[in-house]
């Protein structure tokens, strides 16, 4: 039997068996070194041996930990609760005193952990909060782990208590990745076979031009592959999934007969706000919501007087306007565009003859604090249709068609409010897991917007923030992930998941 088996082994299998016989068990790297084979070839052979019952392959998943940037910081500086404990020097200390030496964030982190670790008591005395140290600072298990990881990461933490590891993960001070490793060991049967002596007869691993030309390949055994042996994972270079989504949106607009337009990120307030009949004292124009720049833009002379009249008293279209004084200086102030409508309205002013169907996908800016669903910059998509006799019913028609193509079968409409459209509408789409959700906004440009620019026919307009769609389509929970790329995530995200 044994000799039968030996004769069916390929040369590489024999090399691995001999190597295993020597070391008993090994990981892929060691096995490759011992056998003189490449890792891939060594593993191929090991899997074949395993199939024949001559070797065992045990898969072992190990968890590797690395510190997060915050964790690295604390590994260097010390954890906030320990630093505060040291600062208090064993004496009861009012919270207010800490404010000079520590940030609010550090204090709020420290208070929770001082209590939880039993390092100090925290009491309210009148209006003051007093921190009384209960222990002097000894070795802190969390800090030990952080310092160890700072020097060694990524590394396993098998010798540290799992409670500490869980705490650090919970504090977002360390993160973990899993790595699967394999250990190959020789079986008793394998050892018996090896002891009998194995003679390595050269077989063909890699076909070469020489072997093909000479016909030599026919004379030697061709080593078979174990087709089920795992392959080395390689990653295709590809477009960002979010870009794929933007491309899809762009393709839909082009197929629907829209012309793509582009414009500058820096816009005078005139195009971003005034031309859209946003009153100059409107809250959206305040510093809190818009990124203003130091520079001033040029005003389009031909429209300035009309826009001024429209704001001040409603021009000659039977509008009341906003009243008050409209300032040219304010209109010149440059901003980072807060919506792509600044681009579409200028395009319509430059192309007032019907029909116009145009769309714009571009980065827009809002002065918002960053969190999972708010970013200071994101892509907006906007489409406009201007033609003689187009109506609200047609606007709804465009929206239904667009959302169908994006993949939402059911679309419904609710009244909405946007400062420059009337009527305005909020489309909602049905998502099986979530129910009806609001997606984008639409309306017909007010005459106060179109008339001063010489646009004589109704303009149907709709827009949406692509981020919201990205969250639905890419399964993102945090919009920041789009703009702070995780290479590993990008490599593993299938191109056709979208």
């Amino acid at each position: 039997m044994a000799s039968d088996k030996s004769s069916t082994l390929t040369a590489n299998e024999k090399r691995i068996l001999l190597a295993l016989n020597k070391v008993k068990s090994a990981g892929p790297q060691k096995l490759a070194a011992e056998s003189g084979l490449q890792i891939d070839a060594a593993m191929q052979a090991a899997f074949l041996l395993a199939k024949k019952g001559l070797a065992n392959i045990v898969e072992e998943t190990i968890v590797l930990y690395s510190p997060t940037p915050e964790g690295e910081l604390y590994a260097r500086q010390g954890l906030p609760e320990l630093r505060i404990l040291a600062y208090a020097e064993g004496k009861p200390t009012p919270l207010i005193e800490l404010k000079d030496a520590f940030s609010d964030k550090e204090i709020s982190i420290a208070l929770g952990w001082l209590k939880r670790k039993g390092l100090a008591s925290i009491e309210k005395k009148g209006k003051e909060v007093i921190i009384t140290p209960l222990k002097t600072h000894k070795k802190d298990p969390q800090e030990e782990v952080l310092r160890y990881l700072l020097a060694h990461h990524p590394e396993t933490l098998t010798s540290y208590p799992s409670a500490t590891i869980q705490e650090l993960l919970g504090r977002d001070l360390i993160r973990c990745t899993e790595r699967t490793s394999r250990v190959i060991a020789i079986t008793n049967e394998g050892r018996k076979l090896a002891r009998k002596g194995i003679e390595i007869e050269e077989d063909i691993g890699q076909l070469t031009p020489d072997l093909i030309r000479s016909g030599e390949w026919k004379k030697k055994p061709l080593r078979p592959y174990d087709i089920h042996a795992p392959s080395t994972r390689i990653f295709a270079a590809k477009k960002h999934p979010y870009q794929r989504l933007l491309d899809e949106m762009r393709q839909i607009c082009l197929e629907m007969g829209f012309e793509e337009i582009k414009g500058n990120h820096i816009q005078a307030s005139f195009w971003n706000f005034d031309a859209l009949f946003q009153p100059q004292d409107h809250p959206a124009r305040e510093m809190q919501d818009t990124f203003y720049l130091d520079s001033k833009g040029k005003l389009p002379g031909e429209y300035v007087q009309n826009v001024k009249e429209m704001h001040e008293h409603g021009g000659d279209i039977g509008s009341t306007g906003w009243g008050g004084h409209w300032s040219e200086e304010l209109a010149k102030t440059n901003v980072l565009r807060t919506h792509t409508t600044a681009i579409t309205i200028k395009y319509l002013a430059d192309n007032p003859n019907p029909p116009v169907k145009a769309f714009c996908i571009g980065r827009v800016y809002r002065r918002e604090a960053i969190d999972a669903t708010h970013l200071p910059e994101f892509e907006q998509l906007e489409g406009v249709v201007m033609d003689e006799g187009v109506s609200f019913k047609n606007l709804l028609g465009c929206l239904v068609e667009f959302y169908h193509r994006v993949g939402f079968k059911d679309v419904r409409f609710r009244p909405g409010y946007f400062p420059y459209t009337e009527p305005s509408v909020e489309p909602e789409v049905y998502v099986p897991e979530l129910g009806w959700i609001e997606l984008g906004g639409a309306g017909i440009f007010r005459q106060e917007v179109t008339a001063p620019l010489g646009i004589e026919h109704p303009v149907l307009a709709w827009g949406l923030g692509v981020g919201r769609l990205a969250m639905l389509r890419l399964g993102l929970r945090d919009l920041r992930d789009i703009y702070a790329p995780d290479i590993d995530w990008l490599r593993r995200y299938p191109a056709c998941q979208l």
């Binding site: 007969g257 004292d281 409603g314 409010y417």
Partner: protein, 535 residues
Amino acid sequence: MPVITLQYDDLKKLVGTDKDTILKHIPMIGADIERIEDTYADIEFFPDRPDLFSVEGVARAMRGFLGLETGLRKYDIRKSNISITIEKSVKPIRPCLACAVVRGLHFNSASIESLMALQEDLHWGLGRNRKKVSIGVHDISKVKPPFVYKAVDPNTEFVPLDFDKKMSMRAILKEHPKGVRFAHMLEGANRYPLIVDSGDNVLSFPPIINGTLTAVTEETTDMFIEVTGMDASVAMALNIVVTALAERGAKIESVEIISDGKSAFTPDISPTSRELSIGEVNSLLGLTLDAKQIARELEKMRFGATVKGDAIEVAIPAYRADILHNWDLIEDVAIGYGFDKFKPELPETATIGRAHPIEDRLALLREIMVGLGFLEVTTFTLTNERVHFDMMKRTQANVTKVKHPISEEHTMIRCTILPNLMGVLSRNKHVEMPQKIFEVGDVIVDSKDMQKLAGVSTHSTANFAEVKSVVESILGELSLEYEIAESNDPAFLEGRRASILIKGKIIGVFGEIHPDVILNFSLDHPVAAFEMEIC
């Protein structure tokens, strides 16, 4: 946007139907349901409809929308024989004033709260945070008319709301929480506005705080309401408040406003009028309604509507702040008709789609880069000088800075993409090597948009030769004629860096990133990189 809390008991009483019917239809008049609880719902209304910022106003609208009571709501108004004089002294500071008396109120804690919430929402919306409009409500039994609105010495003292001792107006601006918050509106003024009664008792210090004397409590049955501000929107705010109170059965009385020896009476709650043609309604909405139907929809929205041949005369209630133009009425016709009843129809407009050449170019570059084995990344265009220049060893250039950055991270718009890619490598230093990434996108140079392409490759043997192959391959695919020349870009290593020139103009740079820069980004592997303008 204002979120209004609607208590079901109150709402049911005011509308006259069950809560489920109301909640089902409320989004269709223009509202977002924020939260539904056991006893109340929070509803967000749009900023152009301040008349819906109270439960009374919502009930009035819903009665119409549900067909329970349609058409123009009429309110009785009587004269109160109370007057208030506007002195010249206050005109340069806060010139406009509208007042009313409301009698026969039956407050409880909930309805007082609702009135305070309405006031706050009006301050925010119509009032632009009290700048244009601020409202004061007073228990009239505590004071003796006639009243005077004037500007006084900042040392004038009275007891403000929420305090129990006299304070000077100057001190209020420094110490009272409301004073601190709104003091900026009186900056530069050397006299402050004040409303007093015939015995010099203080009602209010507009737009900051009321006196404690006239505070409204559950015992208050008769109220004096004053609205001060900068323009005619004071009248609108007053109309919204008094008509909301009248919805609960209170009686509205007018006040004589005396100014420059002339007298006028507020509030004026007579409707204004507009003529709407059937043609303009149907052509904007894409419907074929007749005059009667249009009138019916308008009446559901609480307008008065009289058919006159091919037109409809519309009476607009004095509490509607959003009707600037006929299209505002047409939107209400559509809402009355029901957005859910429209049959969406694509426009017949025939056009041919056309891509923008720059976007096509970017798509081509993505294809080339992916073909060369580079993974695409996307990053913010907002960045800061430290990352953009200092960490790159580059000298600061003239860039687009934002005036009020929200954090130190985002103070300017990028003029190059390479620092962002270094940032991406820095965040991904534990990810398997080799890493090859690129980004193509907008940058701003000299205040103008421009597109650039940048790529980096990092692994233990990344070098100049590798990136030169990449750059030449890209330029070759683009069929561009180019020259390579020595570069002095300090982000790269001397002797291992080069400029790309097209027709003698530098359009890009490539080479090995300087080890100082690599360390600045907390990296340790060699980085070969390039960046070029898109042409």
